[in-house]
């Protein structure tokens, strides 16, 4: 029997969820509002901000004029897409091996990989900074692609491993019997079957890499600086410029927000993949 839910309960539940959703979204909304105010109006009391005058696009023009948005944007795209792409190249075969030909220590290996994510990144900042300096890859996009790929690799492998585990081994054996080489088996059978999982892994990793601030701020200065650096540059020692900072933030998060919006179906489906057979 389906559980009966009274209208009253439905109304209350909707109200609670709606409030929670609004609370979570509010800071982003506020940033968006501030970004359309003049600097002088942006620091007024909230109600004045909301209902007062001084609506303008000025901050956006100033931000674009002062620091080239599109340069940072393209750096962000290259770093997040690049690190995810190279991560997949390593992670797909790795996850295949762990899911379908596990050895005695496979579980330990997975745990060990995850444990590297428990380390605070700042703990290895100095050695990595020195290595980057000595290799001459400080403030380069390839350096950032490499370090972000390494940072996210455990998550990519873990996610793919969980998806691959859901795929019946007999299908891969069938491919082997049908004459597929290992490469063909992974390319034509495993990968297409894991597309929902791979897609959500890709999306999640692009988002993680896009928002990653610690390494991008510490290992770049100007040339390879992505959007995180672009935002940070507005909270400068000369003082805070609320409206410009807000405009920069909106410009930085808009692309990933739009990507997330359009792919939310895929993301949710991928993240709950295999939960219900």
């Amino acid at each position: 029997m389906a559980r009966a839910v009274s209208t009253k309960t439905k109304v209350i539940n909707t109200a609670i969820v709606g409030t929670l959703g609004f609370l979570v979204f509010f800071p982003i909304l506020w940033i968006a509002i501030l970004s359309f105010k003049t600097e002088e109006n942006a620091i007024r009391a909230p109600l004045e901000v909301l209902f007062g005058s001084g609506w303008t696009f000025e901050s956006y023009f100033t931000v674009q004029a002062r620091s080239d948005y599109f340069k940072h944007f393209s750096n962000s795209v290259i770093i997040s897409v690049g690190s995810t792409f190279f991560g997949l190249l390593i992670a797909v075969p790795a996850a295949w091996a762990m899911a379908f030909v596990p050895a005695k220590r496979t579980k330990d290996l997975l745990m060990w990989m995850l444990s590297t994510k428990m380390l605070p990144p700042v703990g290895v900042l100095v050695p990595i900074y020195l290595i980057f300096r000595d290799l001459g890859i400080l403030d380069t996009r390839s350096g950032l692609v490499f370090v972000l790929m390494m940072m996210n690799l455990p998550i990519i492998i873990w996610m793919l491993y969980t998806y691959f585990k859901e795929i019946p081994g007999e299908i891969l054996e069938a491919a082997r019997m049908d004459g597929a080489t290992l490469r063909e088996e992974i390319l034509y059978v495993l990968t297409p079957m894991a597309v929902p999982g791979i897609a959500s892994t890709v999306l999640l990793n692009i988002i993680l890499a896009w928002n990653e601030a610690f390494w991008t701020l510490n290992l770049t200065a100007a040339r390879a600086a992505p959007l995180t650096q672009f935002i940070a540059s507005y909270s400068s020692p000369e003082g805070l410029f609320y409206a410009k900072l807000s405009a920069a933030s909106v410009m930085a998060i808009a692309p990933i927000l739009i990507l997330g919006w359009f792919s939310q179906k895929q993301l949710v489906r991928g993240l709950t993949f295999g939960a219900v057979k």
């Binding site: 054996e173 019997m177 004459g179 080489t181």
Partner: protein
């Protein structure tokens, strides 16, 4: 061609030896069924022949060539899995064509062979569907289609019918037998169902704990089981196996008599007993009779018309020419 020879093949998983040294010859064109209870190693044996598992010792030769080290794709064998193992993201057409595509055949040739297979298996109308849109029986036919387009040296079937319902199973059984007659290709078929084994096989291999208990034609196994395991496993309902004094009287540790080889009478006979449960199948009736000869009820098969009351006293007489005698080790005494 598809002559397969296993020479002292063994398989161990870690410390556990699931198949002790085993020899077997399968002739070209034969329909061989591996049958045995679950866990007897029959599927492992099939996977060894397929190359999906590596042997721990011994050699496998296919058509005179040592195939022990050859990867599964190069052995020229095709396999049909219990779960069908179809590629869910491909249409039926692409599923069937997959082995041809892997073999690098040109598109026109692929299409021609797919159409041929589809016609044989009545799949022409379903070629553009995905496996998810097919019924169990249709999926099974696609799996068979994918196997036949390769024109393999031998077909390997791993319990292919166990996911189908009873009615469909009988139909598919006939289709596979029919296919074997038409293609005359070696088929190795694994099942735990002795009815499938009896009805389809040219040669049955009865396995228990990785050991071959007996190899022979269905009737050989039925009429002359080599030991009590085969005697009890082949035939439905099971052969009555009786130990104790009754067996000793006939100079054996155990005697066996099939249900259809026992006369049942109201007035006189060898063993006195009382009728228990009756099972009416229409064509036949099985009576389970409790006798003083054995603690287990003895099953008797009669024509469908025979009627006996529950609890009625009866006499059973085994036909002496059909008695099987086994020694203390369970081996047949001639």
């Amino acid at each position: 061609m598809g002559r397969i020879i296993l020479d002292k093949v063994t398989k161990s998983f870690g410390e556990v030896e699931v198949i002790p040294p085993l020899d077997l010859e399968i002739d070209d064109g034969e329909f061989v069924v591996f049958v045995g209870p679950s866990g007897c190693g029959k599927s492992t044996l099939l996977r060894l022949i397929a190359g999906l598992e590596d042997v721990s010792g011994g050699h496998i030769s296919i058509d005179g060539k040592d195939a022990t080290e050859i990867p599964p794709a190069k052995r020229g064998l095709a396999m049909v899995f219990q779960s069908y193992a179809l590629y869910p993201h491909m249409s039926v057409r692409k599923n069937i064509a997959f082995p041809l595509r892997m073999a690098g055949l040109d598109k026109a040739e692929q299409e021609k062979r797919v159409m041929q297979a589809a016609e044989v298996l009545n799949l022409t109308d379903y070629l553009d569907r995905r496996p998810g849109q097919l019924s169990g029986g249709q999926r099974q036919r696609v799996a068979i289609g994918r196997a036949i387009v390769r024109e393999p040296a031998a077909f390997l079937f791993d319990e292919p019918l166990s996911n189908l319902d009873a009615a469909l199973r009988v139909g598919m059984r006939l289709e596979i037998s029919e296919l074997h007659k038409r293609l005359a290709t070696t088929m190795i078929y694994v099942t735990h169902d002795q009815v499938e084994a009896m009805t389809m096989a040219d040669k049955i291999v009865v396995l228990q704990a990785g050991v071959i208990e007996q190899v022979g034609s269905p009737l050989e196994l039925y009429q002359r089981p080599r030991n009590t395991f085969v005697a009890g496993f082949i035939g439905s309902p099971k052969m009555n196996l009786i130990g104790g004094a009754e067996a000793e009287k006939m100079g054996a540790a155990t005697i066996g008599i099939r249900p259809e080889h026992i006369e049942i009478s109201d007035t006189e006979g060898t063993w006195k007993g009382r009728v228990g449960v009756s099972e009416h199948l229409g064509s036949d009736t099985f009576f389970h009779v409790q006798t003083e000869a054995s603690p287990e009820p003895i099953t008797v098969r009669t024509t469908g018309e025979k009627a006996l009351e529950y609890g009625q006293d009866v006499f059973l007489t085994p036909r002496p020419e059909h008695l099987h005698r086994f020694d203390a080790a369970g081996l047949r005494i001639e």
